[in-house]
Amino acid sequence: MTQLSTSTGERPIEPREEPGGKIDSAGHGAAAGTPAPFACWSCRGPVAVGEAFCATCKAVQPPGQLDHFVRLGLTRGFALDTAEIDRHYFQLQRQLHPDRFAMRGPRERALSQQQATSLNAAYETLKDPLARAGYLLRLSGIEVNAEGCNTLTDPVLLSEAMELREALADATDVASVDVIARRAQVDIDDCLTELAPAFRAGDLDRAGRLTTRLRYLTKLAEEARFHRLRRARTI
């Protein structure tokens, strides 16, 4: 890929993790036999797939294609403890962040940047329950529509969404916006509570419906927040 730079310096960045990109869900453990190691760029010895550092010479490796759970060393599932995500993320960033490689050569600096970029992508996805739910579904080959309530097909969800939206449009003061925001928050919490058992039971159909509902509720809560800010400012 041609590298571009808005400035005069060379900044070799090759993003490896992209939303909508391929996920190599078979790249870890479960496949038959051990996946073939790749050659360390520095000592040229073997490095196991998924390792951030060469076991022999300790050189940082390219991030490769790992799913976000594997990357952060977390068990795949919806029920994740935020504090634990943070702990794993901080611990990995302590080893891989570009600040740790400021005195190294350009290649190591670039690799550390790729590693930190991948960690951030994983962290951003997994710490947000909505993004996490969507990601889990994608790992199972189900796309949840990104646009949310504009394309709701479930008639029950559709009427609920329209009702809330009208209420928000009609709300003229901060208090009535707050009522809607609180209701949305209660519903969001319900969705989150129900999502964990749905994923655990492998009921992807139900998880998909809940995720779609969570998506428009989150969007609605966001809009309520925005309305509230605007109302508060105009007073």
Binding site: L4, T6, G20, G33, P35, C43, T56, R104, T117, L229
Partner: protein, 628 residues
């Protein structure tokens, strides 16, 4: 083998002779500060008279001499046309931005596209060159104070600085002969200075009101991790605005008294601003006073009390409070959850500012580290952390959303604000006309939905898309922001797999040619510096190769043939010898030779690993079998 080996994971520290000192620099709108940290303790570097602050003022004299700091300030009296201050406000800005700053500017601006140029003492200078002169003065001060060469620095920038301003800052450092270890956001640096002193945990806000910029950052501190949750601000809001308001007030009074006088010249505005600043500073500690404006033929006297001053400042302070509320809201945090508020920047000495911040958070802000020095101290700590290793970790975010222009001037956001950096995100775009072979990729920064309300960063022309029906091409555009907060954009057409070359035209930056010219003109020893840089790089690379190979031999020596071992050992020793010399070509050649010599060994290691993977056995089992 005669090699010393480092513990695994330990940073190989460059050879003592390679290591020039690394300092922290707060390149401020009004004042700049340079500091150094040793063993986790940071101190500000002062001049012979003991002053820590270098006024960010530069004078360009007729004989070609450049003066920086207090001496330059004194030139304001006799040569205001040759003196420039607050140049930071113009970093990375085009002429339209500068006119939008409003009022009568204390600058004479040249017309033209791209980066603005100022006319000063008969010279045409960009903000990058002027900032480079300030940085040179700071470098010289540090070298005098430390008695050693200073070649590297962590330089702070307002968190809310956009990409163009960050690039301009980095370029200025380059011109001044400083290697930028990292651009660190000012509030983050301030938090670092506070956090290390106190080992605090929890949510902290940093309110940073400098001369020309305002930043507000919300951080979570936890066991040495400084995680920025949200940041906001205004890169054209600061104590300067207070001065401008007071100066405008004085000039209006003067006009009322003297009748419709002529428009004040830019030199007269500079003097009025000086007087206004003096008045503002006096009124931090006294209730009222009066000041003389001594311009042209006539003097006028101007009375001002605290209440009147605060009425003039209130709109600007109110704007900062709104921005704070917005950032808290972004992070879904209420003011009561914030455990402490740190005040940074000289303008936080203004009592009105302190009162308003205290009112919002319901607690008295922290200001026990000198607000003028705290940013430089934090930068120095980070410079030490980057060069000598550290347990602390700074995790920062993008201050502004980054997006791309789509049909109808609508912005498609690619990276949202407050996303942790480094980050890379890609989106696909397509053609809208049959047979379309080119596409303009326009990167913008900002929160608004239309391009004209956002800041233009760069335009690229993607050419050579094979002619297809509309909507068939798939152009994948990737935005990557590195740990310095700098953006790189790449684009490629995916259907054909053909990779495209893209021309970059930074909207307000210097072009590569301009930069190269300035480097040539500004540094007689640029070539020597470059030579030395290449030598250091060759040494770093050679040491890496030696360490890696040593580790490999320690682990897998069993696979190394005796004859090869001797040859490799001899080659490693000769590289060791070359490392103490200064011939980088010899070093590079020797490393390449070692590479060839060790190739069969590397091959043997990979072969064994692949075999064992195929057989589903572990390496040590195979080793045991081979030996047994």
């Amino acid at each position: 083998m005669l090699l010393q080996i480092h513990e695994p994971g330990e940073t190989p520290v460059p050879h003592e002779a390679d290591a020039s000192l690394a300092v922290g620099i707060d390149l401020g709108t009004t004042n700049s500060v340079v500091a150094i940290a040793r063993d986790g303790r940071a101190e500000v570097l002062r001049d012979e008279a003991g002053a820590a602050l270098v006024p960010s003022i530069v004078a360009y004299l007729d004989d070609g001499e450049v003066e920086v700091g207090e001496v330059a300030r004194r030139r304001l009296v006799d040569r205001p046309d040759a003196v420039v201050s607050s140049i930071k406000r113009l970093m990375g800005r085009g002429i339209a931005d500068v006119t939008a700053l409003g009022g009568v500017l204390p600058f004479e601006i040249e017309d033209g596209a791209g980066m603005v140029r100022l006319r000063l003492g008969g010279r045409r200078l960009t903000p990058v060159e002027i900032s480079a002169d300030i940085l040179r003065a700071l470098k010289a001060r540090a070298e005098r104070a430390l008695g050693r060469e200073v070649g590297r620095a962590v330089i702070t920038v307002p968190a809310y600085f956009d990409d163009a301003a960050r690039v301009a800052t980095r370029d200025a450092a380059l011109l001044a002969g400083l290697e930028v270890l990292r651009l660190v956001n000012e509030p983050t640096a301030a938090a670092l200075a506070y956090g290390l002193d106190r080992s605090v945990e929890g949510l902290y806000a940093v309110y940073d009101l400098g001369g020309g910029t305002f930043d507000i950052s919300l951080l979570r501190l936890e066991k040495g991790v400084f995680q920025v949750l949200a940041t906001g601000g205004d890169s054209a809001l600061g104590g300067d605005d207070f001065d401008h308001a007071v100066a405008a007030h004085f000039l209006a009074e003067r006009t009322a008294e003297l009748g419709a006088a002529e428009r004040p010249t830019s030199s007269e505005v500079k003097l009025a601003l000086q007087t206004a600043r003096l008045a503002k500073e006096c009124l931090s500690s006294q209730a009222e006073g009066s000041w003389w404006l001594d311009l042209g033929e006539r003097r006028t006297r101007h009375r001002l009390d605290v209440a009147a001053l605060e009425r003039l400042m209130q709109p600007f302070v109110q704007r900062t409070i709104e921005l704070v509320a917005g950032v808290l809201d972004d992070a879904r945090v209420s003011p009561a959850e914030v455990k402490g508020v740190v005040l940074v920047g000289g303008s936080t000495r203004v009592p009105l500012v302190r009162r308003e911040v205290e009112k919002l958070f319901g607690r008295a802000p922290l200001a026990d580290i000198n607000p003028d020095e705290v940013v430089a101290l934090g930068a120095a700590l980070q410079a030490e952390a980057l060069t000598s290793g550290s347990d602390t970790l700074l995790l920062d975010v993008t201050p502004l959303s980054l997006g791309i222009e789509t049909m109808g001037g609508i912005v498609e956001k690619v990276i949202d604000r407050n996303t942790p950096i480094p980050v890379a995100k890609a989106q696909e775009f397509t053609t809208y006309q049959d047979g379309q072979t080119g596409m303009i990729i326009h990167a913008v920064q900002g929160e608004r939905e239309t391009v004209d309300r956002c800041r233009s960063l760069a335009r690229f022309d993607l050419r050579g898309i094979p002619p297809m029906t509309a909507g068939a091409a798939r152009v994948r555009v990737t935005f990557a922001v590195d740990a310095d907060g700098l953006l790189t954009v790449t684009a490629r057409e995916a259907t054909t797999g053909v990779e495209q070359r893209i021309e970059v035209k930074p909207s307000y930056g210097l072009t590569e040619d301009e930069m190269a010219d300035m480097l040539r003109a500004g540094m007689e020893n640029a070539r020597e510096d470059m030579e030395r840089r290449l030598l250091i790089e060759a040494r770093v690379e050679a040491r890496r190769v030696l360490l890696a190979l040593k580790a490999a031999v320690d682990a897998d020596g069993v696979l190394l043939a005796a004859a090869d071992a001797t040859a490799i050992g001899r080659q490693m020793d000769s590289i060791e010898t070359l490392l103490s010399g200064r011939d980088r070509h010899a070093i590079n050649d020797a490393v390449e030779a070692l590479d060839r010599l060790s190739h069969p060994f590397a091959q043997a290691r990979m072969d064994r690993a692949i075999h064992s993977a195929l057989a589903g056995r572990r390496v040590d089992e195979i080793d045991a079998a081979t030996r047994g």
